[in-house]
Symmetry: C2
Subunit: 373 residues, 2 copies
């Protein structure tokens, strides 16, 4: 009572059995007679016994905890991933240690290092870099399971959960093309410093999306580079990039953004230029955030199955913890193009509304169509 929480010896003593028996009863392993178990459990209850997970982990080599590294928990996409990972982890008796990398590899490295010191059983990471993954390889070498989420890693065999990014982008571009657009912009979030080809290779998902964009534009006979801006780290950068794009001789009439935060920058730019959506500018964004169907007009988006992604990542991780070897599994999930009202024909091409009134009826369903891509 006075010497801190009760321990197994305390319980054993109170129950009149050996520590081994008490431990077996409490831990639910080995053989214990019904009578012993009852006495032990009663004594434990009485003393308010709680297992010391630290001591247990020292022996078993398992901590029942996993580390999660996301770029920024304030990004709704990552918040949702975190939610999903947390839920799935809990179901399987795991706890999650959270870290933000801010898209910085050094920060991520530090977080991973601490995770290893804390002896997590596995790490789920949205890597700040798909190529600079030495620390992840080391974690793996140290016997810690690693699964990449949202982005794949190269140079090591790690499981991953991502969406079909090229297909998703292609669907969006196709949607723009079908509406008659030929000047289609793309805002890329990050890009590696000193990248020469204008196609950052750092983050697989960024690459895939840009690649998908360029492929789609090229096969439509359009210039795949003209309306691309890279390095849009946040809302503000996206705003400026968009204003820049809009300031060009033949400005884009449609634009695609790789996440909801950059979409806000685009909306801001449109407002600043007095551009109506979709009459003057059509937009599609990745990630179906809670405000996407509330803004006017409701935003057409590419919805990623975030919760499924998190859940799958946890599954892969647990599988990997059980049987460390076996080749890496790469799960690709399908994103969904959700058509709402932010895409219309380009200006001057039989615009369905030139009165300045909202092109969608009040009270209209905000989810007009949805297709998997």
């Amino acid at each position: 009572m006075t010497k801190g929480p009760a321990t197994i010896p305390d319980v054993a003593k109170a129950a009149g059995v050996s520590t081994a028996t008490a431990a077996r009863a409490l831990g639910g392993y080995g053989h214990v007679s019904e009578r012993s178990r009852e006495r032990v459990l009663a004594a434990a209850e009485e003393l308010g016994y709680r297992p010391n997970a630290l001591a247990r982990s020292m022996i078993t080599g398992r901590t029942q905890s996993l580390g999660l590294v996301v770029a920024d928990i304030e990004n709704p996409f990552f918040a949702a991933v975190t939610r999903a990972v947390g839920d799935a982890a809990r179901v399987h008796g795991y706890e999650v240690l959270l870290a933000n990398s801010d898209e910085d590899v050094a920060t991520e490295r530090g977080a991973v290092r601490l995770f290893l010191d804390k002896r997590v059983d596995g790490i789920i990471v949205a890597p700040a870099s798909s190529t600079d993954v030495e620390h992840l390889r080391e974690a793996q070498a140290a016997g810690v399971a690693v699964v990449a989420i949202d982005r794949r890693v190269t140079g090591m065999a790690a499981d991953s959960v991502t969406v079909h990014n090229r297909a998703a982008v292609a669907a969006a571009v196709t949607h723009f093309l079908a509406a008659g657009h030929t000047r289609i912009g793309y805002l890329r979030g990050t890009v590696s410093p000193g990248e020469h080809d204008g196609l950052g290779r750092r983050i697989s998902t960024g690459d895939e999306r840009l690649l998908g964009y360029r492929e789609s534009l090229r096969s439509a006979g359009l210039d795949p580079d003209r309306y691309v801006r890279v390095g849009c780290l946040g809302r503000k950068e996206a705003l400026h990039a968009m204003l820049d794009l809009l300031g060009q001789p033949d400005p884009p009439t449609a634009v695609l953004t790789p996440d909801s935060i950059l979409a806000l920058g685009v909306l801001l730019a449109a407002r600043e230029r007095g551009l109506a959506i979709p009459d003057d500018l059509s937009v599609i964004s990745f990630d179906d955030t809670d405000w996407a169907d509330v803004v006017a007009p409701p935003l057409s988006v590419i919805s990623q199955p975030v919760h499924a992604m998190g859940a799958r990542a946890v599954e892969l991780l647990l599988d990997r913890i059980d049987r460390a070897h076996g080749r890496a599994r790469h799960v690709r999930l399908r994103a969904r193009m959700v058509e709402r009202a932010s895409v219309g024909p380009p200006p001057g091409v039989s615009s369905r509304s030139s009165t300045g009134n909202p092109p969608w009826p009040a009270g209209a369903s905000d989810r007009r169509q949805s297709m998997s891509v």
Copy 2:
């Protein structure tokens, strides 16, 4: 090399010193000669030694980790709190274990229990209930520091970090009154089941806000109950509650919501009813999310100093970990009323716009005024 990661004995052997010396050099405590320390560090580097935080914690009784329980990480307010707590924790060498309670006390209890088993040094919690806190009291009794964030707890002496909710709400109501409104609605998030007085007592912050609302209305000679709806757990519930409010004989011309998610419900309701903001309905919401200044019209909000709240909570927690006793400290931070464009005079009272055109100029500054409350 083959027997898992190097341990202190391994390093000691390689460096030709005792385990104690190696431990001292590695742990940075006690006295070690320069020569020894160098040899130890070199050997450690060579062997890729990493401390086992588990073993260390067994001895020191400190895990350098803290548990954080929020209602829902997908709520931008909590995401920001989590961000801030994570940042502050990292600066002080702490890691954070995250859990979502979904506003459910039982879930919270389970999370706290696991945190205790994992021997966290402290817990920061946005309690699902301000009164049902037995588990938090137990944590405290077990020597784990507890600080409440966003909400206070009763019946136990726990530090807390909250904002001046009544003042904040009063500022919003005053703002509405000044614009000429007399039919001002309020959507309350949660309310305890079986609550009779219509004023849920479960969550201090909810109580304070509702109290502030009622006080303000009463002192303006208005009915403090007529336009209140409780139990708005999410966007959908808020939407329905708002539609209900709007369906009344003399519907409200202004409404206040306690978080950004409920605000979305209000915006949805307005759209469904074909109501223009602020011409037909004025709105103010708690929490300045990233989309608040992007929607049309930009939303006037009560901005909570989320990052400061998280940082302060961590400070209080670390203080408490160092010196467990001393009376509880209650930090009250000031929220800021950010005026944008979602508040105008009630309909029919010299409306500045009845053409259906947006009442704010394109490209206008979205932050018109800001005052502390």
